[in-house]
Symmetry: none
Subunit: 204 residues, 4 copies
Amino acid sequence: MVKKPAPDASRRSERSRRAIYAAALALVVEVGYPKTTVEAIAARAGVGKQTIYRWWPAKADVLLEAFLDLAEQAARELGQEPYAIPDTGDLAADLRAVLRATVDELLDPRFEAPSRALAAEGVVNEQLGREFVAKLLEPQLQLYVDRLRSAQDAGHVRADVDPRIALELFVSPLAQRWLQHTGPISHAYTDTLVDYALNGLAPR
Amino acid sequence: MVKKPAPDASRRSERSRRAIYAAALALVVEVGYPKTTVEAIAARAGVGKQTIYRWWPAKADVLLEAFLDLAEQAARELGQEPYAIPDTGDLAADLRAVLRATVDELLDPRFEAPSRALAAEGVVNEQLGREFVAKLLEPQLQLYVDRLRSAQDAGHVRADVDPRIALELFVSPLAQRWLQHTGPISHAYTDTLVDYALNGLAPR
Amino acid sequence: MVKKPAPDASRRSERSRRAIYAAALALVVEVGYPKTTVEAIAARAGVGKQTIYRWWPAKADVLLEAFLDLAEQAARELGQEPYAIPDTGDLAADLRAVLRATVDELLDPRFEAPSRALAAEGVVNEQLGREFVAKLLEPQLQLYVDRLRSAQDAGHVRADVDPRIALELFVSPLAQRWLQHTGPISHAYTDTLVDYALNGLAPR
Amino acid sequence: MVKKPAPDASRRSERSRRAIYAAALALVVEVGYPKTTVEAIAARAGVGKQTIYRWWPAKADVLLEAFLDLAEQAARELGQEPYAIPDTGDLAADLRAVLRATVDELLDPRFEAPSRALAAEGVVNEQLGREFVAKLLEPQLQLYVDRLRSAQDAGHVRADVDPRIALELFVSPLAQRWLQHTGPISHAYTDTLVDYALNGLAPR
DNA sequence: AATTAACCGAGACGGTACGTCCGGTCTTTAG
DNA sequence: CTAAAGACCGGACGTACCGTCTCGGTTAATT
């Protein structure tokens, strides 16, 4: 086993890192993931190829980091308290609101191409998939867990329900429609999901 | 736009076609989808590259056809009346049974690699994705639609529920866990899904 | 040891071969040997890089073949009986004539760049050097051997002289001046060489 | 034209300079000239790359200096009065002696790799070639000029002979055989050269 | 003794070319 | 005419070095 002598991260060029993120995201949007080449990212970023290979093992990892950065940045721009589902006491309304926001994001072309690309790569490349889930998806799902627990405390959801599974009744159908084109996604659709699923969770 | 003068399908070599299916599936299992090259498929199948390009536009289409063939063959082997969900009158039991069977199939390594590969390609390649869904996924989902409608007729499911959406409460969570590695899949898990979701669909 | 499965020479593209020769020679003349890259040769010849690597192991070998081809072609153009030193009976005159012709060739820019490049590579790359000598240099030196032997038969050169060594008295000084820039080369210079050296070979 | 502000030679690290010479020579011997990289020289010498680029414009110049240093050092070790051909009154014997010594040096592996490398580079890189000739070759050739003039004074060589050309009858054949592998070199060979050539220069 | 200026080892950087691999096309030979 | 074989053009891959640059850290010479 030959290990590279890990480069000195403290001397890393911030400028290059940002340029690479931007180039990678732009190219994925413009020409799609498979036609996005490391060479093109380097050229567009005005960077040597080695600078990419020095810091990332593969194209997918570049894109993952770039996307995480984008998501973080977007979150920072958007809201002060970005990491929570509203808790107005009305669980159905809160879920409808957050799912509608998710629909909007999934339809935003700025996000669609790169996140679709990452999801695809994650399906086939398990290591990347797990990182994608751990860093991006799971934290968001955790918000649902929190909100559902709060609803359980308020007696709006059966106490024996596992929130980590319950949330999938809302989230997974949307995810599948989006990922696999198994159907259109819209506010009406997510509203319906909330309607159907919440009944199953409510106390008898 | 230059169209190729479609080759004469009647003179196509059945032997080559089967060899190509076998080689494609074997390679996807052995080295994964991205490292499965048309060249390797041709070599392994003992076939000229042109024979592949003559009949399929791209690697993904070869694999799709190969997989459809595999699925059909497997169904035929299994024998029974393949295209239906049992209808014992007990909707919950029937759904649990069919979902458990799905779990088993998803965990079968013979199917896992190629179907994962196709799903991934379908995420990013919309045209292929739609074909994958239309030819493989949707027919199976339709079985759920049928079974749910039957349950509606028997009064076990609210009449105003759209079965095409309702089925996603059972199917999509499983699909997402499998596709995105967001959690383990098991019989217990799908049983729980049926439990949670069915409550929401039952008449009050 | 992994051997490539030798490509089928009978299917080789003559067109590509000639284009590669032309491109290689042109580039060596234009930008010099070290800046002549395989990539540039391929681009200029309108050829894939692999087509070069398929048939030649290295840049130097391409150039060697290209130059041999050029030399052969030039020889064919020039004379009907190209492979002989004139034998008028006057050894000194004959040697002067052939050396003057050599000087002219060495000063011809069409030949200078590539042959200098090959000579240089041959100095450092023994395998190539030997091939260069065997295919190009030695055949020419052999002509001197023949002419000197004829002179020995005529009694104009000492019988105990080894022609293969004797020829170096005329040829090597010129070669060294040209190769190593140790002095200017001209007709007067080679005439002087013939004058000095021939005395040493003449019978007492 | 932008000129670098010439570095302060008085503060130059002697230690680095010697380490670079040693590393350069060692690498040329071990892996050959073309595979000797500036990076490897720096690494082997335990020196930053910039330290090399600060003091030398190119790899070839490093090697030239290193070799000049080696030659000087070797000469100093040998002791005697290095810069002269013996003058015993017997020109033939003196030339045989010095050429035999040259043969020995050319066959010494310590010298062969670097001097061959320099000669090769000099063939193709005129600027370096001229420096190589001026600093190393020409001084040695001048010794022959001196010895031949002395022989002319003694009446052993025709007065109208140009010694600068005459010396090439002895030296160039040896040089060509060595440089271009056109034949083996040995004491017997150089003795023969002296025999053939000297006759041509002797007064009638 | 403190300051300053340069060299120094180290190595990241933007680049270029390497030699390999494969996509998709075209050509040849056999059946 | 199909099919196998495989050469072809094109172009991305990941690697190796190029020559430049920036970063602390010595080390001398100047204050």
